[in-house]
Assembly symmetry: C2
Homo-oligomer: 329 residues x 2
């Protein structure tokens, strides 16, 4: 690591989340050379841009780098992003609309900035350094608070006409099922996202089933997360195990649809939910295998290696942002 | 029309079906200048290639064209096709496996031949001359005996790693539903293809519901088609109307998934089933509008013009085959 400036084989990526900002200096192999983490100020768009710039400058300082020695910095931004125009179109977490993110950061940092949506940078990270390294055609399925798929072929995003290709978090997985934030019913996101998993377990308990998860209820208000459900399942709780099993079947069904829609080399599951539970991942794989055993068409698409967990975990986004910077040089 | 040879703005397309072969001479605007239709000989692969070559030569004769004046002929072939290698990999209808179709036809005709799968040529026809003319990003949803989607962007097919992208006829639309030819249960194709529509009406009648469709049963054996169900629905038959309505809801759900997966300019519905019933198409549109009214995410993808019926009908394949020939010149 040079102390006078980033070499041409060192890149800076910044992953902007609703609560935290992570900034890293990364080498060409995707190794993190230095990193810092800071809270996001989401008071208003200007304050948010200030906190992003601040975190980036903090990384430069920690890395003993001078802004003038850097050709470009990559940023993963939550919500709808127009990468070409450098605009943050909308983000619920950052509470902003049509913010000139790229121009705002370039003005603050004096360095060329490249932005994209944070799930897309996660996909890019896995493609370049992670579970899809060396593979041509990747689907990155992000399952967290929201659910969406990024389609990446030969290093290029398949975006669709409105940039919404892969929004199958809002395809109907359970007809007549739970109300979704989008207004629909039974959407993939409404039945299998993190909050939906907790809600499913709560429904079971409300219907009278005994469960240790009742401890998460106080005066009729619940503080239950998907993680709590997975922990209870490991302890043998029947409601938690049943929930995990049902969610595994639903996720496998959605993944089968994704596999048949895009026929990729690999589907990488990112986001916190499935990474937080090995039993859930095993249930998904078991159910996918059952579907493949049944259907000869699905067997042509499915292999044991088709579905993988993210290899980079929470670093996928920041490594992908660094890849954005590398591509821009 | 010149009598001495095809001009550079006239192209020959041949659509090979399981029962019939259609061959046409087409101009650059997609107008059919001359055409012939002949039965397919599916006794064995050689006989099938003979009958395809024979139909093509028949068209040349009718069009007063000499084979030597033609640069290339395009062919749409049923089943799995390796277009680059010119191989018919497998076709249930033609009962062949790994047939060197291109080489066989070139030997018989003495003209350069270009082949592709017939649903893909259908998509190409709609893109070049039909419902998707001038649009960048087309999904062609073929609903007939089988169901599949062709994804065409900027004139290029999105094929996937194994050439199976778009095989969502085998995604599960009705969990635990009817057994599919693929071995799966509740696949889109198993619940909403032509034969599945007839089977659904028969189930209802068997469960005791009164229907004029009973006339299609003789000694416990049924000769009912989707067309018969649609006709009976027009006559007010309750079982037929209920079947049509349920199928419309299922198809809308599948189309919503397709729209969210690929975010295209247009989804063109080809194949005989939906084209055979205006009320079914209206029910699909009505249900899609209901889903869009519910979900703001789907509203971003859906417009009144998103889903269209094929503009070319049964000529989509042959016109697309002519477009293949045009592209090869």
């Amino acid at each position: 690591l040079q102390s006078t400036g980033a070499s041409e084989r060192q890149f800076i990526g910044v992953d902007v989340g609703g609560t935290k900002i992570a900034a890293c200096l990364v080498d060409a192999q995707g190794r993190i050379l230095s990193s810092i983490r800071q809270l996001t100020d989401e008071t208003n768009p200007e304050a948010t841009l200030d906190s992003i710039a601040n975190a980036t400058q903090g990384l430069l300082k920690v890395s003993k780098l001078d802004a003038h020695s850097i050709k470009a910095i990559g940023f993963g931004i939550p919500g709808l992003v127009d990468a070409a125009q450098g605009i943050g179109i909308a983000s619920v977490n950052l509470n902003w609309k049509n913010v000139a993110v790229r121009a705002g950061l370039e003005a603050r940092l004096g360095v060329r900035c490249v932005i994209d949506n944070d799930v897309r940078t996660g996909a890019l990270g896995e493609a370049r350094f992670g579970a899809a390294r060396g593979l041509k055609h990747l689907n990155y399925l992000n399952i967290g608070t929201g659910i969406s798929v990024v389609i990446l072929m030969d290093g290029k995003f398949f975006m669709g006409v409105n940039g919404l290709a892969g929004e199958i978090g809002h395809a109907i997985l359970e007809p007549g099922g739970a109300l979704c934030k989008c207004g629909g019913h039974g959407c993939f996101e409404a039945v299998a996202s993190g909050p939906a998993i907790a809600a499913r377990a709560i429904e079971k308990i409300k219907s009278g089933k005994a469960s240790m998860l009742k401890a998460y209820s106080l005066d009729g208000s619940w503080r239950l997360t998907a993680e709590n459900v997975f922990e209870a399942a490991l302890s043998g709780d029947a409601v938690a195990k049943e929930t995990l099993s049902e969610i595994g079947v639903l996720m496998a069904r959605a993944i089968q649809t994704i596999a048949l829609a895009y026929d990729p080399n690999v589907i990488v599951i990112g986001g916190g939910v499935v990474q937080g539970s090995k039993p859930l991942f095993m249930k998904i794989q078991e159910e996918l295998q059952r579907l493949a055993d049944e259907s000869w068409v699905f067997r042509k698409v499915f292999t044991k290696d088709l579905v993988k967990l993210s290899a980079l975990g929470t670093n996928a986004g920041v490594l992908g942002a660094a890849a954005l910077a590398a591509d821009a040089q």
